[in-house]
């Protein structure tokens, strides 16, 4: 495969991430292919085979091993990247906590796909949402451009001395991973300079200064204090995410925050969305604004750390908010809904809220669904009553024997 020199290219989300990884040129990649992430693992393996990167590519027998190899390589002192999806993320779940607990700045792309059963290879966010307690920083991407930009920024966030935590960059399976979009690639040199040389703090391979990684810390020890230190580290990442975004803007002209308000300031009702649904929803906002409806969007980019105070500030003026979720927590509301309600709990006047589940197992999210969601919000705003706090967008009407 030829080295890309064009600045503006038409590539898939997976190819964009692979290009970012090529430009970052990590020391170690340990990955296992899984639909719809496979392209990333495959394309990057080609870069390795073609000598375009210096990476040691570890071909492992499962995702549990992939993340374990990443942990070992990162402790050894390498800059480490990987990519996964769905059942892959689920299989490495145990090791996700270990990577974060050991404060290892691993960067991983997760191509969002639903979890079995039934078996289904298409997009939803149950995989990454299920890992929200693992201590990883989580960044979501609306499109291929954002996935590319986020992967590059993730390196800097993860490795920042005040953070030292793993970062997961998410994008929608197939919808973004397999769709060809216009992507502006930075020059290789620019990315190289931006990510800089990785200087591990306590590398195991520094035999002159032996250290012990991942020890036992039992009942009489300091497990609690270490968790507290880990929590403080992810708290510090709030500032680092923004600082890195500022610096990234200088090399790319593209602006990032922890979330993106879209025509939100003067809106009366809004949707909160993640990933690709934001694009569809923005189109609908524009169309409905033409018709005079006071609608807006809040697209969440950073879900961990969770920006409780900032989100409360950004949403508090609204009459009604629909939290759109491509994930569920059976027996409760969606993960995002509960946290956003919690964030706004202390406000004197609180927006009415509904939780709308959409797109599980890859069910399409179409403009009419965004319109339906705004319709629900507008009705709630008008009547000041929530009839159904939990709704579904795009469910087929079928007879279910349960």
């Amino acid at each position: 495969m030829a080295k890309l020199t064009e600045k503006i290219v038409a590539i898939t989300g997976n190819a964009a991430v692979a290009q970012a990884m090529r430009q970052i040129n990590p020391d170690v990649v340990a990955a296992y292919p899984i639909t719809p992430q496979t392209d990333i693992a495959e394309t990057f393996a080609e870069f390795v085979a073609d000598g375009l990167v210096d990476t040691e590519y570890v071909t492992v027998e499962s995702e549990h091993s992939a993340m374990s190899a990443c942990v070992g390589a990162s402790a050894a002192g390498a800059r480490v990247m990987t990519a996964t999806s769905s059942q892959g993320l689920a299989l490495m779940w145990e090791i996700l906590y270990i990577a974060a607990g050991m404060r290892l700045p691993i960067t991983m792309t997760n191509v969002n796909r639903c979890l079995s059963a039934p078996i289904n290879i298409h997009c939803d966010h149950s995989d990454s949402m299920g890992a929200r307690d693992s201590g990883w920083i989580q960044i979501y991407s609306e499109n291929a451009q954002e996935a590319y930009d986020n992967v590059i920024q993730a390196i800097r966030i993860a490795e920042h001395k005040s953070v030292l935590l793993p970062v997961m960059v998410n994008m929608d399976g197939f919808i973004v991973s397999h769709s060809i979009e216009r992507v502006e690639l930075l020059d290789d040199e620019v990315v190289k300079r931006f990510v800089g040389e990785y200087k591990p703090v306590y590398p195991l391979l520094d035999v002159e200064n032996p250290v012990t990684h991942g020890p036992f810390d039992g009942l009489g020890g300091f497990y609690f204090e270490h968790k507290k230190a880990q929590i403080e580290a992810i708290e510090r990442s709030r500032k680092v995410v923004l600082d890195v975004a500022d610096e990234f803007k200088r090399i790319s002209g593209r602006e990032y925050g922890c979330f993106e308000p879209y025509r939100l300031d003067d809106a009366e009702v809004a949707l909160v969305v993640l990933n690709s649904a934001a694009g569809t929803s923005k189109c609908v906002v524009d169309a409905m604004r033409e018709e005079g409806y006071p609608v807006g969007i809040l697209k969440l980019r950073v879900f961990r750390p969770f920006l409780a105070r900032e989100l409360s500030e950004a949403l508090k003026h609204l009459k009604a908010v629909a939290i759109l979720e491509r994930a569920t927590s059976p027996g409760s509301f969606g993960p995002l809904y509960a946290e956003i309600r919690s964030a706004l709990y202390d406000l004197e006047a609180r927006p009415k809220m509904v939780n709308l589940i959409y797109g599980l197992g890859g069910r399409e999210f179409r403009p009419e669904h965004a319109k339906e969601a705004f319709g629900v919000c507008l009705k709630v705003a008008q009547t000041k009553r929530v009839e159904k706090p939990l709704g579904y967008l795009g469910l087929k009407e079928v007879e279910v024997i349960s």
Binding site: V201, V211, T212, H213, G221, Q230, A233
Partner: protein
Amino acid sequence: MKEWRAEKLMPGALIPVGGTARQYKTGGWRSEHPVWDERACKQCFLCWIYCPDGSIKVRDGKVIGIDYDYCKGCGICANECPADAIKMAEGGEPNG
């Protein structure tokens, strides 16, 4: 070995020195202790192979006894010895 105190916590529970397991003498776990009989020993090294804690002492290519600092008293060596050169005795202390 550099001095290190747990009170100064490193990120990720890292310990800024190596080989700290050596400081943790697990011999105190024993409720029985193995007794090695030099004359009966055929130097087959089966005890050395089987010991899960590396507590069979070897010098100049020969088994010379038990490392009671780390031997947990599991009795595998006594069980495996084909020459009955290792027997488990009551109590944790070899000189008790």
